[in-house]
């Protein structure tokens, strides 16, 4: 279905490929590649980037597995809240979570790889829960029930039935986590200390602190090559591992005693791990003058911190700006991502090209895209520099692959014979598509709209590198407040971070609530 692919391909070409190509052709000179690759310390940077990403991914997959199972398979009180709790950290700007972890971790951990890895796991559990959980939720329960009836022990069911069925989602999740931790920027800068830069940090340093844009461009290409290879390789595995499933599974309440115990224990532990850093973060907004105070919150409504003294950061106004951007970004990324997922699923063979293409922006250093846009859209009537919509568009570039990731496993698992059956029963192709495909996709589509909005709300990296006019977004406002000397701006920064946290939680809660309501209606209709 090439028509479906047209919009995503065009968007990608105009707002990603073109700027990047313009930058490369502008700055690269004959000696650039050898200069950049022979720079002292590069091997150290590459090695650190790689091993911390591998360790972070492995740990995240291992730790995220239990909550993914819990949230996909069981209905229990507080499930929605737990799901939001797990997802929120992923959406928060790294500068905020980094600050919370600095307060939480013992001083001997500051500036170590350990601190970076712990934060990475905390950030990315959401990816495992979301991606693996989405698949797990549609696994037919009768398969596992059948295995158990045939005498399989729980470990055997997991090993021979569940894991093979989940494999494509596991690959997808591991790929995304690897991509995120490999390109980690904020957490590494804050927690890793000066001795542990990732490739992404090094690229930004060269471009912005040394003015070495061609060196940065070369390293950005190197990073793309590495990640492109990883994503391509993994998407082949994913396709091979895709299993076509019949009827979806249903989440249920825990019945057996060991199940109830698992739900209680895993639920409590997950909540604890996710909540402690956020509580530390929130509590900091109430710390003033060595005691507790509400003053930072009282002063949130205006940018004045003392009569006549103002930082020019209006926290509440920044919230409105961010919400507007979030709506635009969600709209764009759901439309583009939805079309792309359909095209990829329909194409089967060549689809992986578009799939990898949409993931590329995630692996490209934000500073190179920002600088590329700057010198690409610079002539009237296309002088788009400092246009407000470039920012939500940048957010959409980041969020779209998540929409695709969330939809694709579901779309791929729709058996062809269901559509064929509908056709046989006299449904027109459109009717069959509506009845079979759209119905299944509606739920993950709503959820991914929320996900995209939340990603936009917390996006920091791309926003900082785009030239901005007017109000700052919430993450930018937070980093400015936290970046000033003096106690009030600091506490206000944490207060605003708390608001962001709640807003993100609400969006995710509403989106998954809508998805649940839809799921319920569907179950009722069937």
């Amino acid at each position: 279905m090439p028509a479906l692919a047209a919009a995503p391909v065009a968007g990608l070409a105009v707002f990603y490929v073109w700027p990047l190509a313009t930058l490369l052709t502008r700055v690269l000179e004959p000696g650039s590649v050898s200069d950049a690759l022979s720079a002292p310390g590069l091997s150290h940077v590459l090695w650190f980037t790689l091993w911390q990403a591998l360790v972070s991914t492995a740990l995240t997959m291992a730790i995220g597995f239990a909550p993914a199972y819990l949230l996909a398979r069981f209905r229990f009180r507080g499930r929605g809240a737990l799901l939001a709790m797990v997802t929120v950290p992923f959406m928060l700007p790294t500068v905020v979570v980094g600050a919370a972890f600095l307060a939480l971790l013992p001083n001997s951990w500051h500036g170590t790889a350990r601190a970076v890895i712990v934060a990475h796991v905390f950030f990315n559990i959401a990816v495992v829960v979301r991606l693996v959980g989405a698949m797990w939720a549609v696994l037919p329960t009768d398969l596992t029930a059948a295995a158990r009836t045939l005498g399989a022990k729980p470990a055997q069911v997991l090993r021979f039935v569940v894991l093979p069925l989940l494999r494509s989602a596991l690959w997808a999740a591991a790929t995304v986590v690897f991509l995120f931790t490999f390109t980690s920027f904020g957490a590494v800068k804050l927690l890793g200390g000066a001795a542990n830069p990732t490739l992404e940090v090094e690229i930004a340093r060269r471009a912005t602190q040394l003015g070495d844009v061609d060196g940065a461009a070369v390293l950005s290409l190197l990073q793309l090559l590495i990640l492109g290879a990883v994503v391509w390789w993994s998407s082949r595995w994913q396709r091979r591992a895709t299993v076509h499933l019949g009827a979806g599974g249903v989440a249920r309440t825990a019945r057996a005693r060991h199940e109830r115990r698992f739900v209680a224990f895993a639920g409590a532990l997950t909540a604890l791990v996710m909540v402690v850093p956020l509580v530390v973060l929130t509590s900091r907004s109430f710390r003033l003058g060595g005691g507790w105070s509400l003053n930072a919150w009282r002063m949130l409504g205006s940018s004045e911190v003392r009569p006549g003294i103002s930082l020019g950061v209006d926290p509440l106004a920044s919230l409105l700006t961010s919400l507007k951007f979030a709506v635009v970004a969600a709209l764009v990324s759901v439309v583009i991502g939805g079309l792309a997922a359909l095209a990829i699923a329909a194409a089967r063979r060549h689809g992986s090209l578009l799939d990898v293409g949409l993931m590329l922006p995630l692996g490209t250093s934000a500073v190179t895209i920002g600088l590329g846009m700057l010198i690409t859209f610079d002539t009237a009537p296309f002088d788009w520099r400092a246009r407000w919509w470039l920012i939500p568009l940048g957010h959409a570039l980041v969020a779209t692959p998540f929409v695709v990731r969330a939809l694709l496993p579901v779309l791929r698992s729709i058996p062809v014979d269901q559509r064929a059956a509908a056709a046989t029963l006299g449904a027109s192709p459109l009717r069959a598509w509506l009845a079979v495909d759209v119905r299944r996709v509606l739920r993950p589509l709503t959820a991914s709209a929320g996900l995209a909005a939340a990603i936009s709300l917390g996006e920091f990296g791309a926003t900082t590198f785009l030239t901005r006019a007017g109000r700052e977004t919430v993450p930018i406002a937070i980093s400015r407040l936290l970046g000033r000397a003096g106690e009030i701006p600091r506490a206000q920064g944490f207060a605003l971070a708390t608001i962001l946290l709640v807003a993100t939680g609400l969006i995710i809660g509403v989106a998954s609530g809508a998805a649940r309501a839809d799921g319920g209606a569907r179950a009722g209709g069937e």
């Binding site: 002292p40 150290h44 600050a99 307060a103 500051h110 500036g111 800068k189 804050l190 200390g193 000066a194 340093r205 912005t208 040394l210 003015g211 070495d212 844009v213 900091r284 003033l288 003058g289 060595g290 930072a296 205006s302 940018s303 911190v305 003392r306 006549g308 003294i309 103002s310 930082l311 020019g312 950061v313 106004a317 709209l331 439309v335 939805g338 079309l339 010198i375 002088d383 788009w384 400092a386 407000w388 919509w389 568009l393 598509w433 509506l434 759209v438 900082t464 030239t467 901005r468 006019a469 109000r471 700052e472 930018i476 970046g483 000033r484 000397a485 003096g486 106690e487 701006p489 600091r490």
Partner: protein, 335 residues
């Protein structure tokens, strides 16, 4: 459904298209754009009020766009040299000025608009409690009584970090600074990546900080900021400045080459140097006005330190050596 999706896409594009009317660079002839760094306020401060007064007097509307931190802003200015993002640029400092001038970013000479100092700050309470005198010279930092007490920023990633490295180079000379940092490392200096982390996470003197190091590389104007932003209000500063460790940072503004409004841009630049604008700088950006006729607020005269002989290098020397200094420093201190 396909149609619905297409309609949605069209609606999205329409939204984007309509929204672009709000953009600041649309066609009113007397509107010009001031390009500046992130921490420059875009609304609501006395600086912005002063700019509104300028608009009322001259009819020239000033839109502010922020281009990132100072380094990012200069990188962008170099890439867009001749076809700039705005008409006037505020805030290029002396560590980056050479690159901007070499790449012909400005039309004519940029002017000095403000200055500040990067100095070692100390936690007054900690030194009183421990019965230790705070250090007074650069060489004091190598003494055993100050072992493990100092936290600095990485000069490769942080502008105060770079300023302090240059202070040590100016102090010891081009051939001896490597030994100074070897000794400083042996004396337990801690390095973090950013000023935020150093000041708020590691330094013990910032109000509300959980840090435990009583010495930090920060600004000469940090003590007044501690007073101004204290809650509950206080009338003494919790921190002090070691005046002999300071490096002078100077910021410049200039008309960007390629501007379509050279007259209005020149008018704005003159206003940025005038008293009504300059007098608002201390309490909004925590820097000193370059215009010497401007009086300082009391909290500055009381708690800030303006060193008599701060270290400094001319922009060309900095540009020629910066990367080499950063690389050598990384080898000595981090590897």
């Amino acid at each position: 459904m396909k149609k619905a999706l297409l309609a949605g896409l069209a609606a999205g594009l329409l939204l984007v298209a309509c929204g672009s009317d709000e953009s600041p660079s649309s066609a009113t002839p007397a509107a010009i754009t001031l390009v500046t760094y992130d921490s420059f306020p875009t609304k609501d401060t006395p600086l912005n009020t002063a700019l509104s007064a300028f608009t009322a007097d001259t009819g020239v509307v000033v839109n502010i766009v922020t281009a990132g931190d100072t380094g990012t802003m200069v990188t962008k200015a170099v890439l867009t040299s001749g076809n700039p993002e705005g008409d006037v640029m505020w805030g290029v400092d002396n560590t980056l000025l050479s690159a901007a001038i070499d790449e012909k970013v400005f039309d004519g000479e940029p002017s000095e608009v403000d200055f500040g100092d990067v100095c070692v700050n100390y936690d007054i309470g900690w030194f009183t409690d421990h019965g230790v005198q705070p250090p007074t010279t650069m060489d004091d930092l190598l003494l055993p009584e100050y072992k493990d007490l100092l936290v600095v920023e990485n000069p490769a990633t942080s502008s105060p970090g770079l300023a302090f490295l240059m202070a040590t180079i100016a102090h010891t000379g081009e051939d001896a600074w490597q030994q100074y940092w070897t000794d400083l490392r042996a004396n337990g200096v801690e390095v973090v990546d950013s000023w935020d982390s150093a000041y708020y996470e590691r330094f013990s003197g910032a109000a509300g900080s959980a840090g435990e190091k009583p010495l930090v590389v920060s600004y000469g104007s940090s003590p007044p900021a501690e007073v101004v932003f204290a809650d509950p209000p206080r009338d003494d500063a919790p921190t002090g400045v070691v005046g002999s460790t300071c490096f002078r940072q100077i910021e410049y503004a200039g008309v960007l080459r390629g501007t379509e409004h050279p007259d209005e841009a020149a008018q704005l630049l003159a206003f940025l140097l005038s008293e009504p604008f300059q007098k608002e700088l201390p309490l909004t950006l925590f820097v000193y006005p370059a215009n010497p006729s401007v009086a300082l607020p009391e909290v500055f005269t009381k708690f800030a330190v303006v060193p008599t002989n701060p270290f400094t290098f001319d922009p060309a020397t900095i540009a020629a050596n910066r990367q080499q200094w950063q690389d050598q420093w990384t080898e000595i201190v981090l590897r």
